[in-house]
Symmetry: C2
Subunit: 242 residues, 2 copies
């Protein structure tokens, strides 16, 4: 159960490139590992292990884990440690309910501010997304989930509200976890075309249509999930079946 191979240490930080917060770099690295499933839900992230992996003390490893706990990607249990989050179906529903609420607003804001350069950027992103769609294997699948999330994050970035952007950051990351856990089919084979449709509407300046498409898109993602209580194992639930 060595997590060392799962984490792309050099992926986010070429080396000691940033003299700034190292805990932030560790957070980024772990975040990426979590959202594209190199670290499975439930995996234990011990402070010492993370610390030695990134060659820092427990202090800074702990700070990174605290940040991840704050954004809901890991859960910490006192005196037991930190574990990659294992979102419950209820949590999953709430995540998507939040997205259904926020993303139309983001789309509406984005349509006011999007530039032709942004459009070009988006097309490039969608191309990459489509490329992964046609590849096989878990690596391509992971990359696809990641790219799909990036589309939504780019949208939030264009919308220009840093607070909503941070909320979306969290929601997209947690969505990735949920899809990894409860996803039924191949992620969102329809997702790519839906992204394209949203972008097309944005390009035409049709915010209302883009927002509607976005809601449908989110609905489709959630509909692809199998949110049964199969993973109920909560014991608390098991003990009070009535």
């Amino acid at each position: 159960m060595n997590i060392s191979e799962k984490i792309n240490l050099t992926g986010t930080s070429p080396e000691e490139r940033s003299p700034e917060d190292r805990s932030m770099a560790i957070r980024e690295s772990l975040r990426n590992a979590i959202i594209d499933r190199r670290l499975a839900p439930g995996t234990k992230l011990s402070e010492s292990e993370v610390g030695s992996l990134f060659d820092v003390s427990r202090t800074v490893a702990r700070a990174a884990l605290q940040m991840l706990a704050f954004e809901g990607l890991v859960k910490t249990e006192r005196n037991r440690g930190a574990f990659v989050s294992n979102p419950s179906p209820e949590e999953a529903r709430q995540i998507f309910a939040s997205r259904r609420l926020i993303e139309p607003g983001i789309v509406a804001a984005a349509v006011e501010r999007i530039t032709p350069e942004d459009i070009v950027q988006f097309r490039r992103q969608l191309d990459e997304e489509g490329r992964y769609l046609n590849e096989r294997g878990p690596a391509a699948r992971r990359a696809e989930i990641k790219a799909s999330g990036d589309f939504h994050l780019m949208l939030a970035s264009v919308a220009g509200n840093v607070i909503l952007q941070r909320f979306m950051d969290e929601l997209v990351a947690r969505s990735s976890l949920v899809i990894a856990l409860y996803g039924r089919s191949g992620v969102s084979s329809c997702g790519h075309s839906e992204h394209t449709a949203v972008l097309d509407a944005l390009e035409k300046g049709d915010g209302a249509r883009a927002a509607k498409l976005m809601i449908h898109h989110i609905d489709h993602i959630e509909a692809d999930l199998d949110l049964q209580v199969k993973q109920g194992l909560g014991l608390k639930d098991a003990l009070s079946p009535i």
Copy 2:
């Protein structure tokens, strides 16, 4: 500039009542102090000072400050320390834009789940709010801001989405800061009646009306702000006035 008097140490934690995370208790205490202005924006919160105030080491004080930084209530500068946030007008606008987006959704969810007991609780809360409205002095003013925020948080709680609840927690807290900084008149003398109106609509099950009232309410709060760059003090702005 001793902050010790500003913090109600016993307010949130009677003593060592919680054997659990002390940093969480410190965060709560500082949070309360910030959102009702006992700690003014810009105030420095040094690790050692906070630590000795709560009789803990810098380690746990630091953890509390990190959490506050994460929710935007304090800003940390590397090698300089943590300071109570001084939201810019732009930040303020984004905070209220976010609330305009999220709160109608919360209201819509709340109308589906609100119980008669909740209504009673809300009435009690509104009574207390009204009481502060008729009192004079900064203490009553602070209590009024707090109580006003609590109304929105109760709503989020009733809505039953813990993620949105946490977002609102952050947004309400930051709003308090913004109102403290840019508030023009007496907070929201109209706010109380508007809260009542929202609740009335909720009680009648008229979610659409409640949502509309909520948007107006938020608009009114924001309209009461003086979001000029008077506090621009950024120097960077002052130097490039064109």
